[in-house]
Symmetry: C2
Subunit: 379 residues, 2 copies
Amino acid sequence: MTRKEEAYVIGAGMTVFGRHEDRSLESLGVEAVRSALADAGMDYSEIEIAFCGHVLQGTTAGQRVLQGVGLSGIPIINVENACASGSTAFFQAVMAVETGMVDVALALGFERMARGPIPTDPRDSRTAERPKSAPPMMPAMFAEVFKAHSRKYGTRVEQMAMVSVKNHENAALNPKAQYGHRVNREEVITARMVAEPLTLLMCCPTSSGAAAAIVANRSRTQGRAKAPVAVIAAALESERGAGAGDPLYGITEINTRAANKAYEQAGIRPDALNVVELHDCFAIAEIVHYENLGLCERGEGGKFIEAGLSARTGKVAVSTSGGLLAKGHPLGATGVAQVVEVVEQLRGESGPRQVPNAKYGLIHCQGFGGAVGVHILTI
Amino acid sequence: MTRKEEAYVIGAGMTVFGRHEDRSLESLGVEAVRSALADAGMDYSEIEIAFCGHVLQGTTAGQRVLQGVGLSGIPIINVENACASGSTAFFQAVMAVETGMVDVALALGFERMARGPIPTDPRDSRTAERPKSAPPMMPAMFAEVFKAHSRKYGTRVEQMAMVSVKNHENAALNPKAQYGHRVNREEVITARMVAEPLTLLMCCPTSSGAAAAIVANRSRTQGRAKAPVAVIAAALESERGAGAGDPLYGITEINTRAANKAYEQAGIRPDALNVVELHDCFAIAEIVHYENLGLCERGEGGKFIEAGLSARTGKVAVSTSGGLLAKGHPLGATGVAQVVEVVEQLRGESGPRQVPNAKYGLIHCQGFGGAVGVHILTI
């Protein structure tokens, strides 16, 4: 496509991620939207279209949430792409602005989840008919990813534990994170086994929460209190090919393709990045995504974490928010919350977890079922 | 927005609507897409983005369906707006083309439903906690609409029956319709009572099926076997205001607003229309929508059907497909199937139910929860 307008994030906000057993979806969603509007210094009446990412919240959930902010009559579109639902909502908001369809668009993501593994869907032939005694499906799938990566590249359980330690360390500095406690390597490795060799602390929790980002064209960035953050790449990809039984195919090909497309759009190379929020739904996923995103060579992901290169003080700070592993993963909210983290890092608003002089940030989100979104922001 | 490109429907296709208890969602969806591709004379590889409307089919349903057509890696976005989900998918495909984001977009709608009333959602505070003995929610709501309309304008049960008779008559000529039998006024009135005074034959059935439309810019209409059908209006609205307890507010204000916006975009008046597919989920809805769409004056909807003005041979042919009442209503498929009907009417392909010399067609879809889509097509 030809990019008619440049798109900027001019407001971002989110709720604390956590259990929120006492709060409604609507109150979480409204809090996130109000927070983003306040951040942008604007009224809801400026929003011309809203894209609402969620997975499990039922019909017209976006309308239910947004009526608590205002009944302005604008198009409200609920979008779903599994764990990339929020990323898809952000992609659509960026497209709506870049194409000149609207001047100001809202990307909203939210989810209210019960404890325990994500329920599999009886309508989905890919997941139906698993025996009840089997480990939860997603951890089992990522256990296979680890085993294949380990066989091929020598990746070790200890390296997965290092990812979890780092992300909990970051989360401990993020007041919006679900978990505020640091963990050590031993605790991660000896935690309850979920799907051999993945322990509970190598798996993201289920969570509730909401996040919102307001995207505007250049003219509508004028007169705002805070600096606009430019969106210089927006890629959304689905699956290509089937991978012929390779357990690494689904976690490499689509992600690498989306990342390469984003770098091409942005005109930068991976080594320009200062901060990255990636889809660390399991510790092994973060390791493989280092490779997919070109932060290191293929097969070097385990060594990358071990050398401290993805720490806040490393070559590129990854999952400064705490990531899905420790900030939490309310499905539809995640992709938009990643935007919130990167926007705050680029503006220098991240307090004790701030990465100094962050100029380029990348956001990566993968939805099981075939959707990967990659966006690159800069200030 | 400024409209950079003109959008055209260059291919449309759908499955038969019906129970389809022996068929998977995937096979229905694939059939619809292949039918639309064949209609356009193109390969799936030409599609650059896909919007998939559905309500109840679970996570990444669009990806599950489209992998049966091809794994081309394009962005696939699942969109949900209750009964306007298909209309929303079509709106997005039109926007993607009109803004210049892509040259060719796919709008796909599908649903596989069980018999009986649509299940209400326990997460939705608007519908939770209804006693089990109460009539199904949607019929009960439209019974209130009838009562209010009747009190205010004298609309009669017999007029609702006439809508059902007309739409079944049209469906009997549509090989894609769920119901192929004609009904008479007496049969409609004496059918099983669902929510006083709405009988079963005044309520749309639950259905399974799929429909697809391919939208392209002008340059990509070149060299196709069939004439392109231009999209000259695309409006998607959500609710504005609350209506202060007026049972007619929710079925009038948002629909009238969306229709007026569409007429303004198209630069035509309602009397230019030859064919209309509107959201006749219940017989009373069709009557009120005559008024909302400006086909007659406010309050004159009952007289409009009684005078035969919405028959195929009337002033404007409404629900020539059989409408939701008799063609069936597989939620997400409906809005796209309405496009299929109007495209075929405008091309003169509707066989025994063809409206002669149809030049302008309007499509209207309302999703409970706050979404109305109105599109106007011309040839």
